[in-house]
């Protein structure tokens, strides 16, 4: 840990601490893990390198997650839209998923993660994909057509307040606020 501390300049470290919810230890650990994903020659410039998506997905915390692709997509700021992540994207992600992030932030990002088509609302297709992710892709755990229809109908009945057939951010946040353990389950710690 002491070794990696010297690789992040002190002011950058301070900046990261201010801009994210992460503590110094957590940032340093994140740096260590991030540089391990890079090939050896690029480890010196870890702060400015980009890691391709396939590498990110080898992290044990993300490997088994059904939402892994969405997470990479949401937090990636790559111009080429290849979902590669820089170190700052990585820190962003860890910050949102950390213990100290507020429920607001978490629900906002959860909304973006669940919004599969990136149109700003959760419509029926998004909800269907969400349910499929939650129940798994196996044959025995897929819901039938009728069951899926009914489930989505129920969800929309309960959470779509303005009855426009979609769930927007505020409605989503309203729904999330009713469940007390959302914050503790929307967490990834290295």
């Amino acid at each position: 840990m002491g070794g990696s501390a010297s690789l992040i300049p002190r002011d950058l470290l301070g900046e990261y601490q201010e801009l994210t919810f992460l503590s110094k230890q957590e940032i340093l650990l994140a740096y260590k893990r991030f540089s391990e994903l890079l090939p050896k020659e690029e480890r010196e410039n870890a702060c400015s390198a980009r890691v391709p998506k396939s590498q990110i997905l080898t992290l044990p915390e993300l490997r088994a997650n059904p939402f892994q692709h969405r997470i990479c997509h949401v937090f990636s700021t790559s111009e080429t839209r290849d979902d590669s992540m820089s170190f700052e994207d990585f820190l962003d992600m860890l910050s949102v998923f950390s213990d100290s992030a507020t429920s607001d932030v978490k629900s906002h990002y959860a909304f973006r993660i669940f919004d599969f088509d990136d149109d700003g609302t959760l419509d029926r297709k998004d909800l269907e994909q969400l349910v499929n992710c939650l129940t798994g892709q196996g044959e025995e755990s897929r819901l039938s057509r009728a069951e899926m229809e009914q489930l989505i109908q129920n969800i929309l009945e309960e959470s779509d307040i303005d009855k426009d057939g979609t769930i927007n951010l505020s409605e989503f946040q309203h729904v999330v606020s009713r469940s007390p353990d959302f914050a503790s389950s929307f967490k990834i710690v290295l």
């Binding site: 915390e61 059904p66 755990s141 959470s159 469940s179």
Partner: protein, 767 residues
Amino acid sequence: MSYYHNEAFENPDYHFSETLEIDRRGSSQRNPFSHQSPYDSSLHGSYGDHRGREQNYPVAIPMASLGPGSDYQDLPSTSPYGNFTENLSFEPEPELTYSPHSTFHLLDYPYTHGTSSGSEDSFIRRRNRRPPDEIFMTSSSMSETDPVCSEEEDLIGSLASMSTKERIKAIQKMPETMRKKREIRNKVLKEITKKANHRPSCCTQCLQGAAVGYFQRTVLYYGFYTNATISKIENGPSYNMQLAYIFTVGIYFVICFLILLFSMAKFFSRNFINPQELSVNASKLLCTWDFNITNDKAVKLKQKNLCTQIKEGLTEVNKEVLNFSAMERTIRIGVHLIAWVASLGVAVAACAGVYFLSINNLELFMKGYRNDLESQAAMLVLPVVVSLLNTLIPFFFSWLGHLEKFQTPGQHIYVTITRNIMLKMSIVGILCYYWLNIVATSESQCWETLVGQDIYRLVLVDFIFCLLGSFFGEFFGQDIYRLVLVDFIFCLLGSFFGEFLRRIIGTTVCLNLGLPEFDIGRNVLDLIYAQTLTWIGILFSPLLPGIQMIAFFIVFFVKKVSLMRNCQPPRKVWRTSQMMTSFIFLLFCPSFLGVLSVIGVTVWRLKPSEGCGPFRGLPSMYASVAEWIQVLENYTVSKWVVWIYHNLITSELFFFILSSFVLIVTYLYWQIIQGRKTMTKLLRQQINNAGKDKMLLLKKLRVQQRASRSSSALGGRGQQRSSSSYHPSRQPAQEVPDYLERAFDRNQNTSYNEVRWSKCRNVESGA
């Protein structure tokens, strides 16, 4: 030293017969008679010559060849049987060396030693065999010549003690006339039948009888317990067996009662007081995913769980209301009625069968009380039949359930469970009636032990059937059972009619091919049945709960393995927590309460048997407690116990007051529950209304905005509306960067406030 290890060896006779041979033991003792014919009766006198034989038997039975070449090796004069064990497999040929009379001894003797020494011996020439080595026993009265009649008696006695094959061989080898042999044989058979009535003649029979009888005489059964008061030291604290027995059983039941009560209360509260938790909630779904899970298997498991939960919730919500015409309704009611009549009829038939079989059982038992294996096997017929009925009839009931079309799957499940419980409890009821009314008043010696044995057999066979059922049912598929049953039924109904119906049934029954489902209901009912038997049996066979615990352990692990390997999750989704409540309630209501009443009748009304058990001699089992209270009255120290007994336990007024108090409290709590349910409903309604209010206000807001926008577009008032930054509730397609969403929300609120404020101003200005 024991010179014979088998009674069959005993043949005092052959020493005295004229054909007896002399033992030529030891080369130094080369008998001058060694060359004589073995049939020479003058050999009699040579008995005394034997030396080195400190055995008790005066006559050494010569096993060695008597031929001239009979070389006895110099045997160490150890136990005569010392060398036998080396060559036990050697089949002794009896007529090897000595008289036919003595042949039967040699049948059992291994020859350990030496080769046939005198092949040139005339005797040996007859059969080329190894000489026997040692002496075989004789009786102690060997040294003299006994009269022939007693010899014959002894011969017959020893013949009778042999097994049939050996006896036949021995008699065949006797050098007697046919008539003589026939006489001997008849006498031997007479002797055998006489003996069989006295004692088990053969060792194996002994062992069997001992084994069965042993179990009867252990602590396993009621009959074993003494009715004495045990005290180790004089005038020390004593252990009153009667009180111990009855109080142990009583306290056990009280503990079971309390455990059942608390379980019921827990499941009841979980199930009925929080019904809304079970429905699929949007919030539950959107927020349930735990991002902490990193293990692949755990992820899959969680996904599966979620799927089951969703499906459960959906089936609960999915109650379709079907409207039937009058005609269809009557048909449906008719079908239901027929199904119920059929199931009741089958249950009654099963009970009648069990009743008559058990009466038969008792007759069989009373007729000949024998401890051999045959009668024991015959006693097993009743438990096997009961277990068969309990295994096969539920399949019939579930098939009936498929025929009737129920409105919801829940109804189907409940009806099937009701029928199964009815069947099982009525069978148990008939058995109890049989035990308490018929066995208890029969002439048998120790009826409690009989009942205990019956229950023990039932439990054991039930356990075996459970394992078998798991093996066949889940390992090989329940379809086999169903198919077999359906086949059987339609064979009975006749081929023409049967073919038609079979085709129809085949499409409904045989749909679920593939992996068998683990039928939770059937398995739980099996457990309840086994537990009922155990509870009934505890009074008659006190160690039964321990045995049942072991059985349950084994069944649990077998079923777990079978479930993991063979079964798919049930297609009908089970509302598990609600089912748990029903099952615990079933365990309590027909099962535990029924057992309590049976035990109550036994303890209070039935007369314990005279000859066995801790309550012998008393008019009823409860009388021991009454006696004890009487004894306690004499001591001032324990007057409070007597007071409690007289005023609380045996007084009816106390129980009346207690019951009414409990009823009142129950009623109060029930009313509280009703009130809470109503309140929950009202609160939900309130939340719905709040949502609708919000919607209404948003609509009004939008209208206002549109109005203001249009008015501002007309270049009306110059009031700056932040309409560009005022987003309607539908978010625009582009993504707003990260933390500006909060700013957006704030904007929304502020613009809303602005609108309201401006409206007020308008109103004011307008007013």
